[in-house]
């Protein structure tokens, strides 16, 4: 780890102003940042600590849920309103990492967690995301954990977090503060970027912009939602495949459906074609199975990760069964 300085601004404008330099980085819970620093994946000379900015409030008002960007994963998971009205979010968080890490990790930090691609995190390998233009040895290499959707010939790194998969399904918005001091909203669906030819640029967050909150407004779709995570061991492991699903069922028919996938995409992956196939249908195993057949459309697989197509289909079916039973 290279040395750096830390400053702890006590107000947002000061933090945003300080964060504009290219060799600065914001630090929230620090659980991923510390690993990136220790592995020399990033080498900022200045860290800006967001802890003193009072961004950890969880507020529910008029059906709108506002999760402060510095609210911890543990606090959000345990919050009664989240558990009742947005169970997929609570599940996704409880299935993330370990209790200790969830006590540290934050909403904003989890959205910005970097990929767990083993080639990205080891400077002994080339990596287009870490060192643009150096190549991607993962595609012909150890690709079992890597993405099958949204990939490019330059990068197949999987987005590792569980939370944004649930948030993506539930149409979350982000509240951002710009260095100029203005607040703006951005749909989470517009937040992440596909790797394309620039895999090192992962989101549309601009230099100095700070995520201040996650906003959830559409309560109708949240209540009947869940998150299912398939992993190699029972706990404390990243997803091979995960699914966040939500249904709005009226008079026995699916009025509205949301399906997003984790572990398979270069970003949290919403599958609209499945949602469309579910709408207007009466929930049944058959309907779920038919609807999920289209999950593999456009998938680019390797010999090692081709199984994820089938696994993703079945994971979504199982999740849909769980909430419609």
């Amino acid at each position: 780890m290279q040395n750096f300085s830390i400053t702890s601004p006590s107000n947002l404008p000061a933090a945003a102003a300080a964060g504009q330099n290219s060799d600065t980085a914001f630090i929230a819970g620090g659980t991923d940042m510390m690993q990136l620093l220790k592995n020399n994946v990033i080498t900022p000379s200045k860290l800006i600590d967001l802890e003193k900015l009072s961004l950890s409030e969880i507020k529910s008002e008029n059906g709108v849920l506002r999760l402060g960007a510095m609210a911890t994963m543990a606090d959000v998971a345990a919050h009664p309103v989240v558990r009742q009205n947005w169970p997929a979010i609570s599940r996704a968080l409880l299935l993330s990492a370990s209790p200790q890490v969830r006590n540290m990790g934050t909403m904003g930090g989890n959205l910005l967690q970097r990929t767990r691609c083993l080639y990205f995190r080891d400077t002994g390998f080339a990596c287009n995301k870490r060192a643009p233009g150096s190549g991607c040895p993962a595609i012909p290499g150890d690709s079992r954990d890597l993405a099958i959707l949204g990939t490019s010939p330059h990068c197949i790194a999987t987005h590792p977090s569980d939370l944004p998969v649930a948030l993506m399904a539930l149409d979350a918005e982000l509240e951002l503060l710009t260095p100029e001091g203005t607040t703006r909203r951005m749909s989470l669906s517009k937040f992440y970027r596909l790797p394309g030819t620039t895999p090192h640029i992962e989101s549309n967050l601009e230099a100095g912009q700070i995520i201040t909150a996650v906003i959830l407004a559409d309560q109708a779709i949240g209540r009947l939602s869940t998150y299912l995570k398939v992993r190699d061991r029972t706990s404390f492991a990243f997803a091979l495949v995960s699914a966040a699903v939500a249904l709005d069922i009226e008079d026995g028919l699916i009025k509205n459906a949301r399906v997003a996938l984790g572990g398979v995409g270069t970003m949290p992956w919403r599958v609209h074609q499945v949602e469309l196939a579910l709408c207007g249908q009466k929930p049944s195993d058959r309907v779920f199975e038919l609807a999920t057949l289209r999950i593999g459309e456009g998938a680019q697989t390797t010999e090692m990760n081709a199984f994820k197509v089938k696994l993703a289909q079945r994971t979504v079916v199982r999740a849909l069964q769980a909430i419609s039973a």
Binding site: M1, Q2, N3, N40, R116, L118, Y119, D122, T123, G124, F125, P137, P140, G141, D142, R144, D145, V230, D232, R233, T234, S235, F236, A237, F238, L240, F307, K310, L311, R314, T315, V317, R318
Partner: protein, 716 residues
């Protein structure tokens, strides 16, 4: 808890910190270093490279136990090989400077996986340290088999696995005067003393090795690996104490691993379920010869496990540009049992005979290959008691026939066996007037409870309360004892402690007779006992303190050695067990979870039921990891390990482990050692992985022959 000091936790004044730099190519030569940036960084004291490293002595003989690379030349033989050591005033500064070291290489073509050189295998030169031959054969090599013979011929593979003890390998080295003192995480202080004195050309008495606690080893701390040597080299260079803690990532190329095995099993049996012939041919990977050689002896277990007129085995090595493999919990037996016990299950299924019944029909009353009687064997009792406790009779033999709701239920079993080992050891016992004793031996406690066991044995022998006996271990100045490996610590060291305690006891009895007064003078020592801190006999009781006063002494000491009895070689010595496991398999998602476990073991006499059970459970869980999670993955283009960390090299976590029932069958081995013990550390690991694979077959009808069992293999 929190007070036990492990190797990296001793405080020495003016301590410097060393950090390793490792290669990023698998084969080639170092052309040169660019150290300008690293040397300019704050706090850097020295950067040791092959250009300025101390030239070591006696490299050849030492290579038996100390392996490449020791910065003695510019050759690169594997990715992750140590190429430099950075020493600085703090850990953070040494780490940062290590990252700034630039190495220029000339890369040459590397063999990065076994498959690339599979046909070019070689015969091991030093198989099993010379205790066994690589090949064996009894009966006809290719017997003529009658028609109606059933055959199973399959290839089973196990991947590279890493020990991953929770305590990283760590050494504090201090060179002062002519004395080298090292605090190092090792399973063998005697071996470390020998290796370090030899390499640095020092007299053994000028090297002290200290290791009071070991945070797990599982074989990885058996040898003296390069980091300990490099720490010693560093302290000699900077003239201050140096601490070198290997990072978790670096541990994947610093201290051995279980090599990948490719095992071909051929079984032939008649329709009655009698084995007609057994063949087990093993290929495992080893490193390039300049690094060393290690052969995982996977087929040894097949030589003694079942009776058959024809049993043949072989071991061959494929040389790969990886570091040196080494012993890992149940070395040979764990990987070998996966192959032979999976194949036995396949044959039982082909014969439509219950797997236990099939094994009983081929029960070995004698060791078939060694042609010797077993020193003791209670495997039948393991099968019977394990099956009863597990409820084996409820198993419907048809695969995919048992369900619990949506989940497929599978029941599987496998046999376990591990050799009973013993080596010469010594110990001393010191008794003081207040009736407290100190036991000392140059062994080490790797988590098996050696401190407690040795104190218990001495307390028992001397008639003292346990609280009055202290144990001192882990210091090369103590009476020498063997490496803590091969499940032999109790068998080797306890007899030495007993002998030393008996030596003290004999002196006490002699004192009682000589100083006890008139009535004691005619008493024979044979009728005396030591009980409740007093000598007890026909002439009455004398307390230890009183006796010391009478004899005007302050302390009684005895040192004793103990070694295997010569007639022990007339027997085949093994512990046995039977593993029973129930799994739940999600038929759609391919997820396997272990739901129940019963292990019944014939491990001889048990000295401490509590710590014995802990070891049995621990071995089973290690085996669960082998079956379901563990695999070191290699990037085939660069030969670099991709998952060199414990969030991607998965081991079992608490949530993976169900209740485990252990049964210790009544058995005492009268031959192998005077205690009747047979060793516990490795046995419960053996058979665990095939029991799970067999249960998965029973649950799903899918036979998994390549570990670990993965979701994608079960996504039908």
């Amino acid at each position: 808890m929190g007070g036990a000091k492990y190797a990296a936790e001793f405080e020495l004044p003016d301590m410097a910190h060393a950090v390793l730099v490792q290669s990023t190519i698998a084969a080639g030569k170092i052309l040169g270093f660019d150290l300008i940036a690293a040397k300019a960084m704050p706090g850097v004291l020295v950067i040791i490279t092959p250009d300025n490293a101390e030239k070591l002595h006696n490299l050849k003989p030492a290579q038996q136990k100390v392996t490449y690379p020791l910065l003695q030349n510019a050759d690169i033989k594997f990715n992750g090989q140590h190429v430099a050591v950075v020493v600085a005033d703090t850990f953070e500064r040494a780490t940062a400077a290590a990252a700034a070291v630039r190495v220029h290489y000339r890369a040459t073509k590397a063999v990065t996986t076994m498959d690339q050189a599979f046909s070019e295998s070689v015969t091991p030169k030093n198989f099993s340290n010379g205790r066994a031959k690589p090949d064996s054969q009894i009966g006809e090599t290719s017997p003529i088999l009658p028609s109606g013979t059933l055959r199973v011929e399959q290839i089973y593979t196990t991947p590279i696995e890493h020990h991953n003890p929770m305590e990283p390998h760590a050494t504090i080295a201090h060179w002062s005067g002519e004395q080298l003192t090292v605090w190092t995480a090792t399973q063998g202080i005697s071996g470390a003393q020998k290796a370090l004195s030899s390499l640095f050309g020092l007299k053994p008495q000028n090297v002290t090795v200290i290791c009071p606690y070991v945070g797990g080893g599982f074989g990885s701390k058996g040898n003296t690996w390069p980091p300990a040597v490099l720490a010693a080299m560093a302290t000699r260079q900077v003239n201050r104490p140096v601490k070198l803690v290997v990072t978790r990532e670096q541990m994947f190329t610093s201290n051995g691993y279980r090599p990948r095995t490719v095992q071909r099993i051929k079984l032939a049996a008649n329709p009655d379920g009698r084995l007609l012939s057994v063949r087990h041919d093993v290929k495992t990977q080893t490193s390039m010869p300049e690094v060393g050689e290690f052969a995982e002896p996977s087929a040894l277990i097949t030589r003694m496990l079942y009776s058959a007129p024809s049993i043949g085995t072989s071991h061959r090595l494929v040389q790969v540009n990886h570091g040196l493999p080494t012993y890992m919990r149940g070395p040979g037996e764990s990987s070998g049992a996966f192959a032979i016990e999976s194949a036995m299950d396949e044959m039982a299924a082909a014969l439509k005979i219950d797997p236990i019944d099939f094994r009983l029909r081929n029960y070995a009353e004698r060791d078939p290959t060694a042609d010797l009687p077993f020193a003791s064997k209670a495997l039948r009792e393991c099968y019977a008691q394990g099956a009863a406790a597990f409820g084996w009779e409820k198993r419907n033999p048809a695969p995919r026939s048992m369900r619990d709701g949506h989940m497929l239920v599978g029941m599987g079993m496998a046999t376990s066996s591990y050799p009973t080992n013993r080596m010469p050891a010594s110990a001393s016992v010191h008794l003081t007037a207040d009736g407290s004793a100190l036991v000392r031996s140059g062994t080490q406690d790797i988590g098996t409870g050696t401190y407690t066991t040795l104190a218990q044995v001495a307390a028992d022998e001397l008639g003292l309360p346990l609280g009055k006996v202290r144990t001192q271990l882990g210091d090369s100045r103590l009476p020498p004892a063997p490496v803590s490996g091969g499940s032999m610590t109790s068998a080797s060291v306890v007899p030495a402690v007993q002998a030393a305690a008996q030596g003290v006891k004999a002196q006490l009895f002699a004192l009682a007779i000589s100083h006890g007064g008139f009535q004691w003078q005619s008493v024979s020592p044979d009728v005396l006992t030591l009980i409740d801190s007093a000598v007890d006999g026909p002439a009455g009781r004398i307390g230890i303190g009183q006796l010391f006063t009478l004899a005007k002494i302050k302390q009684l000491n005895a040192t004793a050695g103990a070694q295997p009895a010569p007639d022990a070689n007339d027997y085949s010595k093994h512990a046995f067990g039977a593993q029973f496991v129930e799994v739940r398999v999600d038929p759609d998602l391919g997820i396997v979870r272990v739901s129940r476990w019963v292990g019944a073991f014939d491990c001889g006499r048990v000295l401490n039921a509590k710590t014995a059970r802990s070891q049995l459970i621990g071995g089973i869980i290690y085996g669960m990891g082998m079956a379901l999670f563990e695999e070191t993955r290699i990037d085939r283009n660069t030969g670099r390990i991709t998952n060199a960390n414990i969030s991607d090299y998965l081991v079992a976590v608490n949530a993976d482990v169900p209740e485990i029932e252990t049964i210790i069958v009544d058995s005492i081995d009268p031959i192998s050692n005077p205690l009747g013990t047979k060793g516990i550390g490795e046995l419960p690991m053996v058979g665990a992985a095939p029991a799970i694979a067999n249960a998965v077959y029973h649950a799903t009808g899918t036979r998994i022959r390549d570990l670990p069992i993965r979701i994608e293999q079960l996504l039908a």
